[in-house]
Symmetry: D2
């Protein structure tokens, strides 16, 4: 039986563009995908760039005209890894052309834009995905399943962090991530921490934010200086619908941190600790262990934790970041084939944007806000 | 040259009473104290209890009348390790009798009581100490000195936590720590996190609190149930006078945690990570290390880090909790002898109480409050 | 400019067969390979198996006749991931047919067979590779470079371990790894520890082995029992040509260990610690750090550590096991194109086999043996 | 009821002399000792030194004549912390004078001397102790008890290490630890690793040693150089009476290591990992945990692990090195009172010396030796 072909168009070939291409490549070998993937067209800002990337990443065609690609009937799904400010225009065009759309996070700088995108996709019956790759880690699935199964008892509290130091240098040049419309640390990486929190514990219902600008101006890249208004650090208190309270923090000036996407979950019968710095491990404390033998146990990723076994039949060999992207791709393709729900569609991407904005609104107004 | 004698009276012989006795014992051998310590009298709630403890802990006399002991001219310094609610009465009586007073934390359930105590001591010219033992760790002194010396550059952010699980069991009986007047997790252990934060970074100027009651009632110990209003978990955003922002959290229902008194400090040139779970280590990231060779380095306690060398001439042997108490005792005795400032006097104890109350007030009113 | 095509034939589609296929796939996207890779033919023991695997792994053709494939003029390089006992016959046939050969470790059960294979390849001028994937980790390259550059000073001692628990269960069935001709823990995984040791420190010159059979018989899979003579645990003292002494250990019955491929290197100016359990980290102690600030620093894999940056432009994202295989593939293809030396050819594979046999010989005779 | 008095004489006031004094001091407060301890006389090499130390450490009298002190009828137990070469003469004199003797390790430089000492004590019916302080850690007692109770199943393998770097500097001056008669790393700290191995697993029966001199000469402290023949690094394969095999290693040139007194024990049902660098933790893997939930769990020292609770009623507060010495003192005093067996008497000290010599003999002859 031959598999149907899925013809992929990709816009962008930077960090995330590459990750998408790697992800499709691995997913096709690692998983039994419902489609044969055809990397058909890669669009970038210049023909030279696009051709080079297409060749390197295995796309059959290159173009510097994303609009043409999006309209091309020979494309089934459009992958958007262009700068955030362009996501909306591209996604709406793709949806209008009848494509499924797989867009990098954040879905759009502003929640109202993200809402338009989600509604357009739903109205058109197109299947969508937003790339929150850390969620695709088998150890996060394990954590979520353990929580859902009650292995921690009733959940009481949560701490989530996403901290890095890529904006720690005040001489780093002003860029789109500093744009007041949708920029800042909480939007950029706090969004990951929010996504993980809701992935594990379900919906947040209220929050109280506190965002801080640390580096007030930056070189504008043209010899001058430009004021920065967005948050370098953001924190928020949260309440979950399940009754737990917690906090979530983001910082892109956390000197020394490269990938502190961490969480701690405490329940009545146990607890979980996780750090993306060692993301093939999950630490589990069970109050049900015998007295004198209790402690956080370091569970290493293994075939017990699907879909790890697709990548390696032996435990302890470890997945890498690009493997997480392959899992993300596979999940989306299952959804496209009707095998499963969309793992993280535009509606969920909108949800994260709304939470980010709520953090900012709350911080500005210095009041708790409802986000139910 | 003979040393002057310091005659010590101790009220209480529980957890902290023992720690005081151990501390005096070790301090006298480990340090070159300015006094010869005489453990003169131990007071407890019954004569039997007091006699047993006096004998075990090396006190010459026992009494069930703390008032008499406090008034005894043969006592120079009164150590108070009785329940929090009694601290004020005892300390004021001791000060009135001309004694120096060394009181366990919290100084008093309410800041107004702590203020009375601090003012009484100052008016009487008595030297005081509040027992915030975690501060006496040489690795905390190292951290503070590194920060002060600019080894981290300008400080940008802080995260402090004190989490344990000793109140995680909802069947744990209602006790004085649940008393609405001065009880709760933030008062009990959040106070440690606040003390460490100001020890390292200097004064907090503003804060926004969020305290939560998780276990709404507990057995009253007499067959009934009793409502609990105090916080089981507390969180606060903070601003420091040095310009840094941060958060501080306390929980006594953090299942699996036994001593998560942790902090992270991020500056423009480096960072520090610390966990009381491994309190003989300090983790230091220096942005000045060569590219490709940077990372958090695990500094192990050693004679380089005074006063570690008084306990052991070789590195890596490690101090224990009771050693921290000995350092605390030695610091106080130096102050009594006029060799040094009081390391943590009643005024500072009051400061911590004020901060705790500010966290609660802020939480209740859901507004930021100044604490400058 | 079009790249030349490299036509790949793969024998086997199990654990390592998949890893090869994943490796080729990723390598082509991640690296700028000197060839366009064509996954041409996959051979397995039955046509059904071969077809299924070819389809899943992206090979154009399937066959159950490896001899035909090896003789096929349309194949440039033969990848052998069949059981160890077949490596020799397959490799010799491929070399005879003028192919380059990329063979999984161990090259052959016995060193004399490995020697024949190496000599055949050299005589025929074919380029070869043996799959010691752990060596392809950027952090190992970093370690080797740091040692070579003298960052640790003169090397004094070494400890290498490879321990897992996949043979810990005495009810595990007798298999080819238990075959007295070439089986045992030291051959299977001690070989990895030996390869890493020589990769880092250069040649071992003398050794004294100690191998132990722990589980003396196993189910034969047919209702009976079969005696086991091979080592479950092996240890060896070693001397290196650089003057350092050390030890190397292998165990496949180390309950709880999934991937303890660890080493410690101590020099006059510094030390390195590594564990494959956290293989995106290297821990470095420098005696040149200032007093009171020394400690093992946790260096996280980053673009500073080539070729990490090919996979991800940001630090801290981490490589996975399959990424290591992609690096291995890329290194071999560079050698095939004449861009670089063969990273780990049959001659080196023979070297490891010879060391493994020396460990066994030494252990049996209970004497030190030269392996210079 | 009044406790009998135990009058203590101490020879030496250096590192270990202080540790003994601290140990007696703490033990008396922490434990319910069978004696009231009287620190009666401290002997050192000069009267000034002795007087200073006696005053600092709380001894009533000082002397520069250890022979007189040993003969003093007002002394019950003699503590020897003088240089190793003097242990024998001092201990024999003390035994001859009817004293109990508590001697620092190693009991004597040579096993034949240690044997004389053990036999003299036994003949005289005196109770003895050798100070192997790491054994007194509650986490080691826990490990031993878990092993004995079968929680790990049948023990298959062991790895023990004691590595530090205090002799890593080749400019460190020649001292008694370099004396060919009884010096070297294995005697000095390998002895600790041997003691821990037998403490946990019972007797070693055979071994094969490998000792190495790394720094062949050192300054003699008088402007010249002096050859060094003792081992800087020592390794040994071992067999235990229980059937397990293992290895033990010692190094005092392991740059960066301050206290790597580590072990790993692997059994059929579980494993234990321990590092003295974090000696308030024991890591336990149980194969009986549910699939997908297995991992090494970090057990933190707590009142569950006697005698931790004597020091602190709450978990996670941690013991320090001097606390281990207090436990050692208490164990000896229990033996002196007839409450318990001698925990580690001269006979056991002799055992360790014999093992050390066997390692050296074996290494020199390059043969396995029996040590049953």
């Amino acid at each position: 039986m031959t598999k149907p072909v899925l013809r992929v168009g990709l816009i962008g070939s930077g960090f995330m563009g590459k990750a998408h291409a790697f992800g499709y490549g691995s997913a096709e070998k690692v998983f039994d995908l419902p489609f044969r993937v055809e990397l058909r067209t890669l669009a970038d800002t210049s023909m030279a760039l696009a051709q080079h990337a297409a060749s390197a990443l295995g796309f059959a065609r290159a173009t510097d005209d994303w609009r043409a690609m999006v309209a091309d009937p020979a494309i089934d799904v459009v992958n958007i890894t262009a700068p955030n400010a362009l996501h909306k225009e591209m996604a709406l065009a793709a949806i209008a052309a009848g494509k499924h759309v797989y867009c990098e996070k954040p879905l759009a700088p502003l929640a109202q834009d993200a809402r338009e995108m989600a509604e357009a996709a739903e109205a058109a019956g197109r299947k969508t995905q937003v790339g929150f790759n850390y969620l695709c880690n088998p150890m996060l699935a394990l954590a979520r399943d353990m929580i859902a199964a009650g292995e921690l008892g009733e959940i009481r509290s949560y701490r989530g962090i996403h901290a890095e130091d890529y904006m720690a240098d005040p001489n780093g040049v002003w860029g789109f991530r500093h744009d007041p419309a949708g920029g800042g640390a909480f939007a950029d990486i706090g969004s990951h921490a929010l996504a993980t929190a809701e992935f594990l514990l379900g919906p947040i219902t209220r929050l109280m934010g506190d965002t801080v600008t640390v580096i007030g101006e930056r070189p504008d890249g043209q010899g001058g200086r430009r004021a920065v208004e967005v948050d370098d650090i953001g924190r928020t208190f949260v309440r979950f619908a399940n009754g737990a309270s917690g906090s979530i923090e983001a910082s892109w000036v956390a000197m020394g941190r490269k990938m502190q996407h961490d969480f701690e979950v405490y329940g009545t019968r146990g607890a979980l600790l996780f750090s993306q710095e060692r993301f093939n491990e999950l630490h589990f404390y069970s109050a049900d262990d015998p007295a004198g033998r209790r402690g956080f146990r370091r569970i290493e990723a293994a075939p017990d934790h699907a879909p790890y076994g697709r990548f390696c039949v032996a435990p302890g060999h470890q997945l890498g970041f690009n493997d997480l992207k392959a899992i993300e791709v596979a999940g989306y393709l299952d959804a496209l084939a009707g095998r499963a729900e969309e793992p993280f569609n535009f509606r969920k991407g909108l949800r994260i944007q709304s939470l980010v904005e709520a953090v900012h609104d709350s911080s500005k107004a210095q009041v708790w806000v409802d986000v139910a």
